[in-house]
């Protein structure tokens, strides 16, 4: 019997991790992405390899996913990660009051947390606000967004996955019963159109999942929730610096190569393809970032960008929605066979999202193949281009 | 486009001034000067060859060589030699990682000295006759 053929739509973290998982489980894999790798939300992330600390109080399901996956990613893809840890720092009395709740949350989720003195914190991060009242160390890290996605993509490619980049899915191929049997695509690089048939289609288009499900007369509840990030031209910190409090605007500063990046905000929009930059949010990032790292005021802006979170659920926007992920079998949801949608989640949890999705694919195709991605080191991201 | 080895288009790309910075200009000028000098070397050998044809032929040539047009040509050779030599020193120094951050200033200095040197020669050649 020939291998079952699965089409993955979208080559962000989710799509590339799914392609890798599928390829390892010996599927015939075709990835269709309308732009280059990680050109959607994934490329534009902050780059925080979450320890889970940020969600340890309000969203423990996400927090536990984060710490588990954090440990796995450090092992399987060390070449795109700065594993230098992270600090949660208290600057005000209200921050300080949050400390115990935070520590309890971390302990409940299995996140190692370690209090250090303000003096020690300033020794480790000399650019930290000298008014620091308390500091906690957690195993945060930072990663290079494009190269994380490329590593998954390269590994999948090595195991036989094929890529159709700059190729947009423009419609679904449906059989007489309305079940999905493949996709119609537009190759934007060559301006050609063709069809690809498959045994299963996985919709991993992040904030755009709704457009794909619509083509199949199916639906999925998501709320596109953008946030801003501002990069400054100095590497002012060597690890992720978080504000010790409930998640809010501009409460994370982290290093990227020679830069410091401050993020983020959370609001809702209609149009997802081009989110204009709101200069008042840029000012807010500077103001809030400078509370943590005052030297940011002396640095120069070097890039401003918006990314759109694909948060699951249709309730109001913002930080109340859980950051966990969900995979939908549209047979159950809309009585449409042949289509699985995955969305939500974080960069940090993309491998687990892939595992869950491919489990569903296997189950639907009546196969019993275990997932091995947690122990399989990825190949070098460079091999995506060089092989 | 990706370049191909031995593509005739490469000849133009060597001298293509589009989108070039100071260092690129220095290199293009150096190459033009070098080619000019090689051309002059052949010319020089050709002229020396006239010696073999006897004293009259050579004197006749020397007479025409005193015309302003010839002097201008010789000045070009001097300018080229000065620039190529001085810039050569710049390239040699930087090749030992000496003065790389100052390479632009070194280029301007080489250029300035070549212009000044050529002017000195020009004044002398047009007045001392």
């Amino acid at each position: 019997m020939s291998k079952p053929h699965v089409i993955v739509i979208g080559a962000g973290f989710t799509g590339t991790a799914i392609a890798h998982d599928l390829a390892l489980r010996d599927f015939d894999v075709t990835v269709v992405e309308r732009g280059p790798i990680a050109s959607g939300t994934s490329g534009r992330t902050h780059g925080l390899l979450h320890s889970g600390g940020r969600y340890a109080v309000k969203d423990q399901e996400s927090a536990i996913e984060c710490i588990e996956e954090n440990i796995i990613l450090r092992k399987i893809v060390p070449e795109v990660i700065e594993p230098n840890g992270g600090l949660f720092v208290a600057l005000t009395e209200s921050d300080l009051a949050y400390k115990e709740t935070f520590i309890q949350g971390c302990e409940a989720c299995g996140i190692p947390v370690d209090e250090i003195t303000p003096q020690e914190a300033l020794r480790l991060e000399p650019n930290l606000n000298p008014k620091v009242l308390a500091a906690l160390i957690v195993p945060d890290g930072t990663f290079d967004p494009l190269r994380l996605a490329l590593s998954f993509a390269a590994s999948a490619k090595k195991n036989g996955a094929t890529y159709h980049l700059f190729t947009e899915v423009v419609d679904m191929l449906l059989d007489g019963q309305g079940n999905v049997t493949g996709v119609k695509v537009w190759d934007r690089a060559n301006n050609t159109r063709y069809e690809i048939h498959s045994d299963m289609v996985v919709n991993a288009t992040g904030a755009w999942v709704g457009q794909i499900t619509q083509m199949a007369h199916a639906h999925v509840p998501i709320t596109p929730t953008p946030g801003i990030m501002v990069a400054y031209d100095q590497r002012l910190v060597n690890r992720a610096i978080n504000r010790l409090n409930r998640p809010s605007d501009g409460d994370i500063v982290l290093p990227q190569r020679r830069l410091a990046v401050v993020g983020t905000t959370s609001f809702s929009i209609e149009e997802v393809d081009y989110v204009p930059i709101d200069r008042s949010q840029v000012d807010l990032m500077l103001e809030r970032g400078a509370e943590l790292i005052p030297a940011i005021r002396q640095a120069k802006e070097r890039g401003v960008y918006m990314a759109v979170r694909p948060l699951i659920g249709a309730s109001g926007p913002g930080r109340s929605i859980s950051r966990t992920f969900k995979a939908y079998d549209h047979k159950e949801l809309d009585n449409v066979e042949g289509l699985v949608t995955i969305t939500g989640g974080k960069a940090t949890t993309c491998r687990a999202m892939a595992e869950k999705t491919v489990d569903i694919v296997c189950q639907k195709l009546g196969l019993n193949i275990p997932c091995t991605t947690a122990a399989a080191p990825l190949t070098s991201y460079r091999e995506f281009y060089s092989r | 486009m990706e370049p191909q080895k031995n593509d005739p288009k490469n000849l133009w790309d060597w001298f293509n001034p589009k989108g070039r910075n100071v260092g690129g200009w220095a290199f293009i000028l150096n190459r033009i000067a070098a080619l000019g000098l090689v051309f002059y070397l052949y010319l020089h050998l050709f002229v020396l060859g006239k010696l073999a044809q006897g004293p009259q032929v050579f004197d006749q040539f020397i007479a025409t060589a005193k015309s302003p047009l010839y002097i201008l040509g010789e000045l070009l050779v001097i300018a080229a030699a000065l620039y190529h030599g001085l810039n050569g020193v710049r390239v040699l120094l930087t090749s030992f990682n000496i003065g790389v951050p100052q390479q632009k200033q070194m280029f301007y200095t080489a250029l300035l000295l070549s212009v000044l040197g050529t002017l000195v020669f020009a004044v002398r050649m047009f007045t001392v006759h």
């Binding site: 490329g43 934007r188 281009y385 | 370049p3 260092g23 690129g24 220095a26 930087t94 790389v100």
Partner: protein, 240 residues
């Protein structure tokens, strides 16, 4: 808001390239890449370009803006054009063009792999200051046996190769970024010494320093090539 014209290099499949103009309304504080994305989002869905991080850490968005190599995600529109003016965007030179503004950076990635360019390295391995920006201070970790790991400065954008007059005529020349990656590692490994000291290595460079003029990430590859020359010469003299 400004009204400007983007003059964009277009090329599909085997068709000959041409230029197309688009009138766009932009905020002058926006970056050149934002304008390109806006054209794609609202004017022409067939426009292809490379991008990912939008803040100069991934190296995907290198293009030629008005003829000069730029990382478009950090090049402000107001720095390259005036209100009412025209801005030309073209793909990088010296790489195969895939479509419109997209080039295939494969040759660069192959060379970076060949020179074993580190994907992450110890913080202390950033040996000297680039233009304007001081290297990050080597701050101690909590325990003495730990060291900070960081992603390197070079973002493998290919901009240096695009600007290099030698790469313009010799596709086999290793080029600025790969040679700089050898310099960062030093010449202890014999295979790296052999690569640096080869016909397509440090001796192929003609010292135009275009790479350092355009490198958006303060790698200063030109200076690193020169230092590698010095190192190779020293090694060879010692061996002789």
């Amino acid at each position: 808001m400004w009204k400007i014209t983007y003059r964009v290099h277009r090329q599909k499949g085997n068709e000959p390239p041409h230029y197309e103009t688009f009138q766009v309304e932009v905020d002058p504080e926006e970056y050149v890449l934002d304008g390109v994305e806006k054209i794609w989002a609202s004017e022409d869905r067939s426009l292809t370009f490379r991008h990912a991080c939008h803040h100069s850490t991934c190296g995907a968005c290198g293009m030629r803006v008005n003829g000069v190599e730029k990382l478009t995600c950090i090049t402000k529109i107001k720095d390259v054009v005036q209100d009412g003016g025209t801005l030309t965007v073209e793909p990088l030179r010296n790489f195969p063009v895939v479509s419109d503004l997209v080039v295939d950076l494969g040759p660069l990635y192959r060379k970076m792999a060949a020179v074993q360019a580190p994907a992450v390295h110890a913080l202390s391995m950033t040996p000297w200051e680039g233009q304007n920006i001081a290297p990050p201070a080597d701050i101690p970790m909590r325990s003495a046996d730990e060291e900070y790991i960081r992603l390197p400065d070079c973002i493998e954008c290919g901009i240096c190769i695009s600007a290099c007059p030698v790469a313009a005529t010799d596709p086999e020349y290793f080029g600025p970024a790969p040679l700089a990656a050898i310099q960062i590692q030093g010449l202890d490994k014999p295979e790296l010494l052999a690569l640096a000291d080869s016909q397509e290595g440090v001796w192929r460079c003609h010292s135009a320093f275009e790479c350092s003029a355009v490198c958006p990430s303060n790698v200063d590859p030109g200076r690193r090539i020169m230092d590698l020359r010095r190192q190779v010469s020293a090694k060879r003299l010692k061996l002789a």
